[in-house]
Symmetry: C2
Subunit: 352 residues, 2 copies
């Protein structure tokens, strides 16, 4: 089979009908679930005296996409730090905040910048590049947040053979093992890079889709999406519109780890302590209206990957997502029974 590397690609840019900016309410529900935990984390675990010693306070959102969820997240972090500062009655003035919005080079930073709130309490910068690599100078970041981003692998392992499918969720176990191995490598690189960049005592707030122990992939919402999207692609193969080998060599670089796996990876890396860890259920949307929301959500997140692999034929993309939308309708009862979980992890940078 043709050797193909599927690398992660940014979410859809702009502010159009299929843009991430207008189709990220599902990610927002994940964030809303994490919001109160982030607030508590800052109130309980942020060593504000140590971190705000006359310098600016530097925050980064890794995998921020083109907005607007990232602004809500950052605003609530800044608010929590201000509240913590106030509650401790510190004599030091409130620090100025410097916020670095990071996503891949292919992210639409122009849209991100244009959506920046005009009234904001921080200085803003955009940082292009993979968060699996170094992005900042040593010891220059006080707080990292990354919401709904770490599930995206840097790439699908080259040796994955996955005939007629586009994800491990409905595949033999060796496919899943290959994904698991890639996630483990990616997280190691992520933690190593952050270990250099985050100051001692600095916090990392991570939240991303996970699978509960024993939960079948057949009822994991994103797994269901990918099975249906793969099935829509195979329909197009049957119609002679897409090449079967193209489908065989295409896989979504998305991995949902279990909380235990995440815990083991943090411990193996050794640079951070786990201050808090929780699994949260994201409410599953109800009602027939959800079909369009799910369809556009998937298009906003995967169109870039699909175009990169299958080419930029608008008709093919439109038809694929029409088929996918029909399949979502047909599988409505499965979607209603499925669940979507997020793991929330609060980490603190150890003294070396």
């Amino acid at each position: 089979m043709e050797k193909v590397v599927i690398e992660s690609v940014a979410m859809n840019g702009g502010v159009g009908d299929y843009s991430y900016a207008n189709n990220s309410s599902l990610q927002r529900s994940g964030f809303e679930a994490a919001k109160s935990l982030i607030h508590e984390a800052i109130m309980e675990k942020l060593d504000i005296k140590h971190l705000c010693n006359g310098k600016s306070f530097r925050i980064t959102d890794l995998g921020c996409s083109a907005g607007p969820n990232t602004f809500i997240a950052v605003e609530s972090i800044v608010e929590a730090i201000e509240q913590k500062h106030h509650s401790e009655g510190l004599k030091l003035p409130l620090p100025e905040f410097h916020v670095y919005f990071n996503d891949q080079l292919s992210n639409d930073f122009n849209t991100l910048f244009n959506l920046l709130p005009l009234e904001r309490r921080y200085f803003a910068a955009g940082v292009p590049g993979s968060f699996h690599t170094r992005l900042f100078p040593e010891k220059s970041i006080d707080l990292v947040c990354s919401l709904s981003a770490l599930q995206w692998l840097s790439e699908v392992p080259e040796d994955v053979v996955n005939i007629g499918r586009i994800h491990y969720s409905n595949a033999p176990s060796e496919v899943m093992e290959a994904y698991k191995g890639q996630f483990s490598k990616d997280m190691e690189r992520f933690f190593d890079a952050r270990a250099k960049e985050v100051v001692h005592g600095g916090l990392m707030v991570l939240s991303f889709p996970c699978i509960r122990d024993g939960q079948p992939y057949s009822r994991f919402l994103v797994g269901v999406f990918f099975s249906l999207l793969g099935s829509a692609l195979m329909d197009m193969v049957k119609m002679g519109k897409v090449d079967q080998t193209k489908v065989d060599s295409f896989n979504m670089p998305f991995y949902a780890a279990s909380p235990k796996e995440v815990e083991a990876l943090v411990e193996r890396n050794g640079h951070f302590t786990i201050e808090r860890m929780e699994t949260q259920d994201s409410p599953i949307l109800q009602g027939k209206g959800v079909i369009q929301v799910y369809s556009k959500h998937n298009r906003a997140c995967s169109e870039g990957l699909i175009r990169q692999h299958f080419g930029h034929d608008d008709e093919i993309i439109d038809e694929l997502f029409d088929l996918f939308t029909n399949k979502l309708s047909e599988s409505f009862s499965i979607l209603e029974e499925s669940s979507m979980n997020f793991v929330f992890v609060l980490l603190k940078r150890k003294q070396d």
Copy 2:
């Protein structure tokens, strides 16, 4: 007359035929003239022990546009600092460099990021916003550079009445006085913002078009450009394609100060010492081929402003620049006799 505010707009984005990225060789010639002075400035005036005390070294290019000149500038600054570090035989390791590329919100940051050199010795970030306002936290910048950018005013003063012209270069003296007043206000805001952001002992390297004392605007290259562009717009008025009131209310927010004016503004502000100041002549391109270079250069720099004021009719824009190109040809001998000067200023942040 209709009240219209002409605010600065970013250079053309993308990498197309009329993009700034592909039509910035004139600015590059200004930078090439400044390059050896920047190198000397760093070798002679950078207090490397004080600034590189175990932290990263933070550089910003203000008004960087969409590339590629900014990368050449930054690379040569980093190289000079490395050389200075080496020449002093410091025991401290070489700092990591954090480079902030700044331009207006309307700048094409996507293109800028995609043109970033893959092999670079610094961490990169993009910072959207006017350099006439605060962009960074207090005391967070070690070296500012701004090349061919400060000549752009934040806006044309509202009370400028300039019938049938688009610049002060061929206008009555009260028009020029209004521009001069705006430049003075803008520079005060620029110096005040930088005074907060630059660390004590930090450097600012500024280079921008200037006019030598007594030099007539009729032979200042950019003045000639704007006279011809205004004349092309008036031709379109006569052809009934553009409204005269639109031309009357349009002015290019571009001001060429004299070195004496710049000196007085730095001194009035009081936060920086002038470590070096020079006026440099940029070589005027020769030969008929220059007409296309000049035409595209002007289009890359002013198309955004023109569209903002006159509307986004591609035909009008194309026709305007065809007329302008013809006028450049007709005035070829004047262009050959004109000159283009840059003022180079090296400033150091005083102790308060």
